[in-house]
């Protein structure tokens, strides 16, 4: 990290073509750029027709936007992926064990490896979950681990998404689009499939069903509704799994079970894959204003009458202050050294760290501990004096609300632009499924790309795009 030149995943640091891209590059060299441009437009039409759009918060409800899709795939070798996936699996196991522990014995705190106030004063800690054991012992059925790359073998975890990670529909539709547009590419490259994700998800969710479920558990997806920014994904996943897509007002508690209103009366649900935040899940137990949730669902949950995926209270693992302890968490619960590194992190709650951050504000990235989606963060090097001064005020007013990290020189992957190929910074969100019978990581994930030259912000809400991500069979 630091001053060395930027690592490009296709051309390395010195402009020598890297192995995973060899066959792709041969193909690209023989293509007419005009045809590719036409294909790029065709891709957009396909996305619009399929309705792969997201709604932008704070805008007119009718506005649906496309996430720009770039036709140049990001390619990872099988060997690189294998090393990466071991690290991911280790981390996800540790997160699940950590969640069990903080809602039960809190051994890590007793062992002095985590300050008690990290939990007790944490807004994302859910006291309702103390002593509750979710079916199969699974808290994190679906996890998205955000990774960045800085060199051939240097990957860092940027954040953990254990609450309700989104984006998997883009992973699937990006592949579908590439298959439709460039079938010949898949004949030349042995790309590991991602299309099994919905079936794997359904299997994993069904395996996590509570005891009271029959041999063929009823699974449903809970969405906040069609105005939610990720509604397309909710409908897509329900459709792909062949299960019902429900909203809060379709559900109620009937005879101690959560049941959905069908044309033939109420029918119990065994596993609810919820895409609604904890806060809105149950107006009786949490936010009483919520119209998105199901009154009393937490009581059914605590009585073992339903599986909620992910379990309530998992959001604490996404907390950026907890993140800074993740190396210790991995070591404590797995007894192994972490295979995947964290980005060095200053906790602004600590006076010494705060002093350092304030002195180097123009070099650092500062994030809210509970923030997500790229909102409310400061990127020091690209901010104006005015922005820095304003952020400094916010930071000093509530230091414990922030963490800071160095600006990493994120790897780049070329995008197809008017001028030909141009390098743009990327990150990667692989998707991990966890059930009582094991962990499954879909080879690839969602590559997000900052379309603006030099930009490090890949969030779709901030003008980022996506790419198909290939993991090759070596």
């Amino acid at each position: 990290m630091g001053e060395e030149s930027i690592f490009d995943e296709m051309w390395g640091r010195a402009g020598a073509l890297r192995e995973p891209y060899r066959s792709f590059n041969d193909w690209l060299g023989a293509e007419d750029p005009k045809r590719l441009r036409a294909k790029q437009r065709e891709a957009e039409d396909l996305f619009r027709l399929t309705g792969i759009t997201f709604n932008v918060y704070g805008r007119a409800e009718a506005e649906e936007r496309l996430i720009p899709f770039d036709i140049i795939p990001r390619i990872v070798s099988g060997g690189e992926w294998l090393r990466l996936s071991r690290g991911i699996e280790q981390r996800v196991r540790a997160i699940n064990a950590f969640l069990y522990d903080i809602y039960h014995g809190q051994e890590m705190i007793k062992a002095g490896r985590l300050p008690a106030e990290m939990i007790s004063r944490n807004e994302a800690f859910l006291p309702h979950m103390i002593g509750v054991s979710p079916p199969g012992g699974i808290y994190t059925h679906i996890v998205g681990i955000d990774l960045v790359r800085t060199g051939p073998d240097e990957f860092y975890v940027l954040e953990d998404n254990a609450r309700t990670p989104s984006g998997v529909s883009y992973m699937l539709e990006n592949r579908e689009t590439m298959l439709q547009m460039f079938p010949e590419l898949f004949a030349r490259n042995r790309v590991q499939p991602v299309q099994t994700y919905p079936a794997d998800l359904l299997r994993s969710l069904a395996a996590s069903a509570p005891q009271c479920a029959g041999s063929n558990p009823t699974v449903a997806v809970l969405t906040p509704g069609i105005y939610n920014s990720a509604y397309f994904e909710h409908a897509f996943l329900a459709d792909q799994m062949g299960v019902e897509l429900v909203e809060g007002h379709d559900l109620r508690v009937v005879d101690g079970r959560v049941a959905m209103r069908t044309t033939q009366g109420y029918k119990p649900i065994d596993v609810l894959y919820r895409r609604v935040d904890d806060d809105f899940l149950d107006p009786l137990n949490f936010n009483p204003e919520s119209a998105l949730g199901v009154p009393g669902i937490m009581d059914v949950y605590r009585a073992g009458g339903i599986t909620i995926a992910n379990a309530p209270g998992t959001g604490i693992a996404d907390d950026k202050a907890i993140y800074s302890y993740m190396p210790e968490i991995v070591e404590f619960y797995t007894g192994e050294r972490p295979l995947l590194g964290n980005v060095p992190t200053w906790r602004c709650s600590e006076p010494e760290a705060l002093a350092h951050v304030l002195a180097h504000l123009d070099e650092l990235v500062v994030k809210e501990v509970h923030g997500s989606g790229g909102y409310g963060m400061l990127i020091g090097p690209t901010s104006s004096k005015k922005e820095l001064a304003a952020f400094r005020q916010k930071l000093m007013a509530r230091p414990s609300n922030y963490i800071a990290q160095p600006t990493l020189s994120l790897s780049t992957v070329p995008v197809f632009s008017r001028a030909g190929l141009s390098p743009r910074h990327v990150d990667l969100r692989p998707f991990v499924l966890m059930g009582p019978d094991g962990i499954k990581i879909t080879p690839g994930g969602l590559t997000r790309v900052a379309l603006k030259k030099g930009s490090l912000v890949v969030n779709s809400s901030q003008g980022g795009g996506t790419k198909d991500t290939w993991v090759l069979e070596d």
Binding site: L49, G51, I226, Y231, D239, E244, D250, R261, T262
Partner: protein, 313 residues
């Protein structure tokens, strides 16, 4: 199936049918205006009434003009039943029930919406009107075709069809409601030029001119038109035909669910009492009274279906 999904399907197809019917009404009005035989402003008033949007129009406008009436029916977002609003509502419902639709139905619906938005983003000039209306109807037909060609014949399909035919029956009944007087036996059975225009208006509004001519002959008059729109089971927009389809689909549902809904009993009653007679019985009952009765019954069936199949909490 979720009650909400049944509701979404029902309304998706109702709105789609409505978009098509309204575009047909606009076309009819335009056509009549061009022949200059009808008193044209009155004609637009009755077309607004037929579409059920006259009150909304009057609230938003001081005077009645052809251009304003067309724009109100075609694309005004303040009119929830304008062609554009109907297509947007159909698509919104389709998004809601996306998991119940095939890919092809969704894409046909979504692209109908995208095309309508494009065509109706600004006022449509007289010269472009026939083309735009034609495209709208073709797009609606594409959704219907994808529906018939790709959807399973299960409860999803049944609710889609019930929505379609309830809307269609309602539309035909409203055409008759506004124009019943030109079909009364007291009106001249020979038919003045003005009568002929009125009869043609009715037939155009149900795309029935060719079929009518073929089945009843060129000289047929108001009695046959009433027969054609109300009782003729070969005519896909007649009340008897639509009611028969609603009954079929309610019967399929009863079979699949092992339970007959109250709506099914009601529909059977209506068919028995009103739609298996000959047209003289309708005139004896009173054409106006008959149409009012049908409109009331259609609304009643709609409500029974909503409640019986748990569309809402």
């Amino acid at each position: 199936m979720l009650g909400k999904t049944a509701n979404g399907l029902f309304w998706m197809y109702r709105y789609l049918e409505r978009a098509e019917n309204t575009s047909r009404l606009i076309e009819t009005g335009q056509r009549i205006a061009l022949t200059r035989l009808g008193a044209s402003d009155d004609e637009w008033r009755s077309i607004l009434q037929t579409a059920g949007v006259a009150a909304g129009y009057d609230a938003a406008h001081e005077t009645l003009t052809k251009d304003a009436a067309i724009d109100w029916m075609l694309r005004d977002p303040a009119n929830p039943s304008s062609v554009l609003s109907s297509i947007a509502a159909a698509r919104q419902n389709a998004r809601m029930v996306r998991t119940a639709l095939t890919h092809e139905v969704w894409e046909a619906t979504n692209s109908a919406y995208m095309r309508a938005q494009e065509l109706l983003s600004r006022k449509v000039g007289e010269r472009d009107l026939p083309g735009v209306l034609g495209t709208i109807r073709q797009r609606a037909a594409l959704v219907r075709g994808a529906t018939q060609g790709t959807m399973l014949r299960n409860d999803i399909y049944d609710f889609a069809r019930i929505g379609t035919f309830l809307e269609r029956a309602d539309n035909t009944a409203r055409i008759l409601d506004v124009k019943y007087y030109v079909l009364l036996p007291s009106a001249s059975s020979v038919g003045s030029a003005v009568d002929n225009v009125q009869w043609e208006t009715i037939l155009r509004a149900v795309s029935g001119r060719g079929g009518f001519r073929m089945e009843y002959g060129a000289g047929a008059g108001p009695r046959e038109i009433a027969q054609f729109l109300i009782l003729d089971r070969r005519m896909p927009r007649s009340l008897a035909f639509c009611m028969g389809k609603i009954r079929d689909n309610l019967e399929y549902l009863a079979g699949a669910y092992g339970e007959r809904s109250p709506a099914l009993g009601r529909v059977e009653d209506i068919e028995q009492t009103f739609l298996r007679r000959d047209i003289d019985a309708v005139f004896d009952f009173g054409l106006y009274e008959f149409i009012q009765k049908q409109l009331t019954l259609l609304a009643e069936i709609g409500r029974q279906i909503e409640v019986g199949y748990r569309f809402y909490e």
